[in-house]
């Protein structure tokens, strides 16, 4: 049954999202693309919207995917799946374990999880770069990927712009949207 599948997949994602905001990104990307529920382009668009709307990005992505697969009930089930591990684990910790984050074992685990998470977010970013800007891995593999000068220029421009002006992400994406509408 699709609801069970949605719940299970997002339960897994919620369980393995450890650490800061974007830690859910690599897992979301892997699961959503592999399951065939979301296309690559769709995923990027959902991500952008999730960054610009209320709520944690992981929850937004769960809702988005769930809705696409099974309308509003799907959205609820996917979101429920994503929060279930949190509820279970946090309640257990709150009830039974004191000074959880000061325990050496936890600190050691986190010192391992944290760099891994960043490496994974970087890998996810590379995949997005490949889809949105240029197929760099393809180039490294020896192929000759198509090169869109407008895209590359826009990328360079936005890269510099963000360096110069730290605007709110939603505003930055809006600028990208305007530039895309005009130039692409």
């Amino acid at each position: 049954m699709i609801y069970l599948e949605l719940f299970a997949v997002f339960f897994k994602i919620g369980l393995l999202t450890i650490g800061g905001g974007l830690s859910s990104l690599p897992l979301l990307q892997e699961q959503c693309l592999q399951s065939g529920w979301i296309g690559e382009g769709e995923f990027m668009d959902m991500l952008a919207i999730s960054q610009s709307t209320p709520g944690p990005i992981g929850i937004n992505m769960a809702t988005f995917t769930g809705y696409k697969v099974a309308a509003f009930p799907g959205a609820v089930v996917a979101t429920a799946g994503m929060v279930a591990p949190s509820i279970i684990i946090i309640v257990l910790i709150a009830a039974f374990i004191r000074d959880f984050d000061r325990r050496p074992l936890v600190r050691h685990l986190m010192s391992g999880f944290r760099p891994a998470a960043v490496g994974l977010i970087a890998a996810a970013t590379l995949l997005i770069f490949t889809g949105a800007v240029y197929d760099l891995p393809g180039l490294l593999r020896g192929a000759e990927p198509a090169c869109n000068p407008v895209t590359l220029l826009l990328f360079a421009g936005l890269l510099v712009l963000h360096r110069l002006r730290k605007w709110h992400p939603a505003l930055f994406l809006l600028i990208g949207a305007a530039a895309g509408a005009i130039l692409c």
Binding site: G21, Q51, G55, G58, T63, A75, S86, T125
Partner: protein, 206 residues
């Protein structure tokens, strides 16, 4: 019962007004509501909960909501608070989803999204660059980061193994490192510097 509703509405507001930026953006508002306005928790308590939320599985915002909710009203409280923080997402994203598919197919919108995708790539690059220093303060963690990156980027390993592998690596390496440092310190100074060396916790910069 009334407090359950208050929990729900406080976290509903927090969920509604935290746009982007992950769980970190919620902290100021969290403090304003939980500590100052309702006095449910002291500042140190809240920060402690927040720190725990960063070291446990799950989205930080949800972890924090669950924890605060539990402290106030047990399991029912945690459910109320968690429901509060996810309902804005559910409503807003569902509403957007209704129009999403057709909207994307409009030519102008498709071009706009091409630009948005480039912008999000840029944002992500800066986010990763920003996280880099804090996540990889020593050679070991740098190696973990690079290994995770290459193994997953090349499609050699599924994400779950890279995450678990990182955790296991940390769990094995740091105690060893601390013991080695303690032993070295003891032999160098000739007196027991064990206390000193084992106070040298792995950098975790919460």
């Amino acid at each position: 019962m009334r407090e359950l509703w208050t929990l729900f509405s406080v976290f509903f507001r927090i969920g509604l007004f935290t746009v982007g930026g992950g769980g970190y953006a919620m902290l100021p508002m969290l403090r304003r509501e939980i500590v100052e306005r309702y006095g449910w928790l002291s500042d140190p308590d809240l920060l402690n909960i927040y720190a725990i939320g960063q070291s446990t599985p799950g989205v930080i915002a949800v972890n924090t909501a669950t924890f605060v909710g539990y402290r106030r009203r047990g399991i029912c409280g945690s459910l109320a608070a968690t429901a509060g923080i996810v309902v804005p997402s559910l409503l807003v994203i569902s509403l957007i989803s209704v129009f999403f598919a057709e909207f994307r197919e409009i030519e102008l919108v498709a071009r706009a999204f091409a630009g948005i995708r480039i912008a999000i790539t840029v944002l992500l690059i800066y986010i990763v660059a920003g996280m880099f220093k804090k996540a990889a303060p020593d050679i070991f963690s740098l190696l973990v980061l690079l290994l995770a990156f290459f193994l997953v980027a090349a499609g050699i390993v599924p994400v779950v193994w890279a995450i678990l592998g990182g955790g296991v690596a940390g769990m094995l390496y740091y105690p060893l490192r601390d013991r080695t440092r303690a032993a070295r310190a003891t032999s160098e100074t000739g007196e027991s510097a064990t206390a000193e060396a084992s106070a040298d916790k792995p950098e975790d910069g919460a």
